[in-house]
Symmetry: C2
Subunit: 250 residues, 2 copies
């Protein structure tokens, strides 16, 4: 229970009467969170989308969403929404931007905070996903979505690209152990362009944030590709020591 909570309870008494004077004439809004959930596999970069089996807009495609509750903040609401529909906790998430156009949701006056999430597409609760009638859709094949959700997706992709250039955020889209060819494919998918294999590997190796597990993945070639894991500790200590370089520059 955070300190703020007690403070709020304490101060509330003081404000209880006053607050009516200050705030009561202001308009009320529903506050939503919508999650742009990225995943990645050999086919490419994907989004987890809902073919809605509930109202409103039943039958149409949308992002995962939900409403903010009085006793939580937006980060918590976004985590809850993600947990509900994928069964996952501790997924990389980041607030993207808040959308607020009048009449965007015709059902009510809603202000919607978009969050983007990066997750390992091989590791989620299939039952939860299918109960929401959700599916992984290739980024290039995203259908028209309800409200301003397509706009949110566009924003999220831009943010993902910027993040991926500045920090090694891409690892969140891969399993804990991954091969360099798959890491390169991921970056090619994020940036939508081809990358020279030698330059890519040189860059990655020069950063010294990968650990070669010694194991090999033989699923895509006869020779087999080494499995690496991300050395988060090393990366964090680099950050503390003022590492300020671009992680990846196209």
């Amino acid at each position: 229970m955070p300190y703020n909570y007690f403070f709020a309870c304490f101060v509330k008494k003081f404000y209880e009467v006053e607050s009516i004077r200050y705030y009561e004439q202001e308009a009320d809004f529903k506050v939503a969170v919508d999650c742009i959930i990225f995943g990645f596999d050999e086919e490419g970069l994907k989004l987890l989308l809902l073919k809605r089996n509930f109202e409103p807009c039943k039958g149409e495609w949308s992002l995962m969403g939900g409403f903010l509750r009085a006793d939580e903040n937006l980060d918590q609401a976004a985590e809850r929404v993600l947990r509900d529909c994928t069964g996952l906790e501790k997924v990389y998430m980041e607030q993207l931007m808040t959308f607020s156009d009048v009449g965007c949701d015709p059902g009510a006056r809603v202000v919607s905070a978009a969050y983007f999430a990066l997750m390992d597409i091989r590791n989620y609760d299939k039952e939860a996903v299918s109960s929401y009638n959700a599916a992984w859709v290739l980024l290039e094949q995203v259908p028209p979505l309800i409200f301003d959700h397509n706009q949110m997706v566009t924003k999220a992709l831009g943010r993902l690209r910027r993040r991926a250039t500045n920090c090694p955020v891409g690892f969140n889209l891969l399993p804990q152990e991954f091969t360099l060819p798959s890491l390169q494919m991921l970056y090619e998918a994020i940036f939508g362009c081809e990358i020279d294999k030698r330059n890519f590997r040189k860059k990655i190796h020069s950063m010294n944030i990968l650990i070669n597990t010694g194991k090999k993945d033989y699923s895509t070639s006869k020779k087999g590709a080494y499995l690496y894991s991300f050395d988060e500790e090393k990366y964090n200590s680099m950050l503390e020591n003022g590492y300020n370089q671009n992680f990846f520059n196209i």
Copy 2:
């Protein structure tokens, strides 16, 4: 009147009854906008802050803020707040992030979208500013602010730095005509470090986005420094032609 508006009116009829079923059990929130307003003069980078002469938290320092109205979106609300307290329109503004901690504003459950703005400190409505009891405060001397406003300021500074490295957003903080020494001082203030004069000028000149007006400003030296203006047209055409370089790299 945007297309969406008609659409909303049309669809509303359909939803009027239904919406009650979908949304009525969701919590209501007040939605605020808070503006982090940057200015710059020879003393350094400054923020426009309020010493509140109204409740709540009368007597304390805060950002400029206001509540979202039912008939506007967040961008419009932020513009309105800025217009009310500085008399300015068409100021560079950008949505920063939405803050939503429970108990942050003890007066009510408020979700607050922070905006950051860049303006020419020499050009604003002094009466409006003083009627709000507002003042320009050096960034290094920002006092404790109410709620989570200090956190917003920190975020805004980070965003400003990132923006300034990627695009020539700094010009919004200067008068229409400015000298290279003052432009350099601005960047030194934004990044909080010294910059080599020759390298700075080389970089700026190589971009070809400044117009030398031929006029000189003699206010800071006997020799006088040339006044330049930002060639927005040229910059836009560069963008269209796929200019993708960093504007400024420390």
